[in-house]
Symmetry: C2
Subunit: 380 residues, 2 copies
């Protein structure tokens, strides 16, 4: 029986993690669930999965929930509640399913306890990859990717030697704007940007997919997860999202992991690793699919992709600045404050204007994140 | 320094094996080369690779070569020469690169010495899979597939647990007649059948690809190599021959191995296993390839495919009968004695008429092979 803490149980990844766990009542129990604000969704999860503790980041909503569910489980609140849960509760697997940067502090607590870290929260590695991977080695914490691309790479690397990897090939659907011209991106609506062709995900990551910043974040994530050089990470557009990513070895052989676009598969793999468990998910039917296509990404149109490679080249806090600027820019776009095509310009401006720090510690990262957010929010 | 014996050094696989070995002069040396008849091709191989021994199956040609090369290396002749070489010489890796059934006896000698068996000769497993795999376990010989499909599956299984395999997906190019109608197969010429779209191979295997008996043989080969049930082996048509085969696991995840259609890749993998070695072979470029397609195989048109599944169902000597009948039928087709569409009818007739033996020993297999060949040669 593995004990699981889910950081962000009411988001897309959190819900799917519970969908997986529901199928294996003998194998998993829930130690804790945490949410930002959605106590309405959390309440039925409490009734079904009986966590000993829940955490609500919004303190007022947390107190409201506490009153409502009486003694059904322990309720912690606030950012400190998240950190306390990760630092003190009894669990085996920490599922980092929160959106954005705010998952970092509790994730570091889990790492320091040598837990299994099933990581969907890519920002954790983007902003603090050097620190996180160093701490994982130091505290013997095992980092298991939940992102479908990184799970694919992780699966392809099983049984292989890392020094025999030549290249990682990240596949990208290309999102809803794959076939739009660069100039027409200025006029796309929020609704169009939220209409992802293959994946049903949260709003932030869906917009990131439309701008291809999601792939940019994944490049940086892959860099830290797999210890490859940035020139060894290639992006190829694959609109069907069937090949989830590939690894090319020094002998020219390529291994790929394939599956239907369903996050339950990589989530289950991370939870049951190093084993696989039988399930009833629909299977691939290659004759039915018929056709898998591939294109080179258009770096001119999807500027965010190049910004990510640049952030890796600069290093230090550059990925943190890129990520924070992107979070605020996406927020502004979703609020109708800026055009879609403005997102990369905002990020680029932030990367130019904000001072970079080499090998930042956790405080420097938080400071840089805060500074960037304030800078971008103040941009008109 | 690994010592290598190549059974069949002047065929397509043998030549490619030497092409690979030429790139790694520090890692491999040639203990012995064997040929059926092509002493003209063998002679420069002797000068370049300096084997201690060569074997020529044709005794007269063997004596001719012996006279010609004087004392440059030891020359053995005849079927017994092949067996003696496998049984007595000092080598680490036995490369089974001969065409057809005649590779079995020397392969068994290598197995009984617990050697690494790099097997391109699929007939060995088709006719004697039960015996060969039993002996490999008994003598702790390691069987490494060289067939591109089976190498792909073998690579996909690295780091995975065999009891977590759900299905093996063998890809098939479909050969030159993929888009022909069934009725038009009666009139195809030898030249058309020899014109494979992707692979440059020997005549026998190229005809087998055109009839899809090659895939039929591979189904049986996969059955024995990977210990799966026959209903767990699926064939999918993939005309580009880029995905060399796939494995589906019990969680629905699929792993594939991909590469350009070049036998040097699986040969090198078998020779360097469990490591991979850097090489200068051309690499895949997915954007350049653009498109991978998949179709269900047409079992009505490619009757040989169904005959192979039937042979597995019947078991015993049925695969041996199927294989021997196919070898003679292909020979007759290449000689212009029968139509292409007659091949499956001949095999089917042999499978009906010749008595089946359960769990045959080596003598029963040789007897069945001989009986089938005589039966098919006598068919008009």
């Amino acid at each position: 029986m593995k004990k699981v803490l889910i950081l962000g149980s009411t988001g897309s990844i959190g819900i799917n993690t519970l969908n997986v766990i529901r199928n294996f009542p003998e194998d998993f129990e829930i130690t804790a669930l945490t949410v930002n604000t959605k106590i309405g969704l959390l309440e039925p999860q409490i009734h079904e999965f009986h966590p000993g503790t829940v955490v609500v980041k919004d303190e007022k909503l947390g107190m409201e929930l506490k009153a409502r569910i009486a003694g059904e489980c322990n309720v912690l609140v606030g950012e400190q509640g998240l950190i306390d849960a990760a630092a003190n509760l009894d669990y085996d697997i920490f599922v980092g399913a929160m959106v954005g940067f705010c998952g970092l502090a509790p994730t570091l607590e889990a790492i320091k306890r040598g837990k299994i870290i099933a990581l969907a929260n890519k920002e954790t590695l983007v902003v603090a990859g050097e620190l996180v991977t160093k701490l994982c080695r130091q505290y013997n914490a095992k980092l298991l990717p939940i992102d479908s691309e990184h799970s694919a790479i992780f699966q392809c690397l099983e049984g292989e030697k890392k020094d025999q990897v030549e290249k990682i090939i990240l596949t990208a659907s290309g999102g809803p704007f794959l076939n739009k011209t660069k100039s027409s991106l200025a006029n796309v609506t929020v609704q169009e940007a939220l209409n992802h062709p293959n994946w049903k995900m949260g709003a932030k990551i869906t917009i990131d997919s439309a701008s291809m910043m999601n792939k940019g974040l994944e490049i940086i994530e892959a860099y830290w997860l797999f210890g490859v050089k940035q020139e060894e990470i290639e992006v190829v557009i694959h609109p069907q999202s069937i090949i989830h990513s590939m690894v090319q070895y020094i002998d020219g052989s390529v291994k790929a992991q394939l599956g239907l676009p369903d996050m339950k598969l990589p989530i289950q793999y991370a939870l049951t690793y190093p084993d696989r468990q039988a399930n009833q998910f629909p299977r691939l039917d290659f004759a039915e699919i018929g056709n898998l296509t591939f294109f080179r990404p258009d770096f001119e149109k999807f500027e965010c992709l190049m910004l990510a490679y640049n952030a890796l080249t600069i290093g230090g806090t550059a990925p943190c600045i890129m990520n924070a600027a992107n979070e605020i820019a996406v927020h502004k776009f979703l609020n109708g404050e800026i055009r879609f095509s403005h997102i990369p310009h905002i990020i680029s401006t932030a990367m130019e204007k904000i001072e970079n720090h080499k090998s930042p510690d956790i405080d420097a990262i938080f400071e840089c994140d805060k500074e960037t957010r304030e800078f971008v929010m103040a941009l008109s």
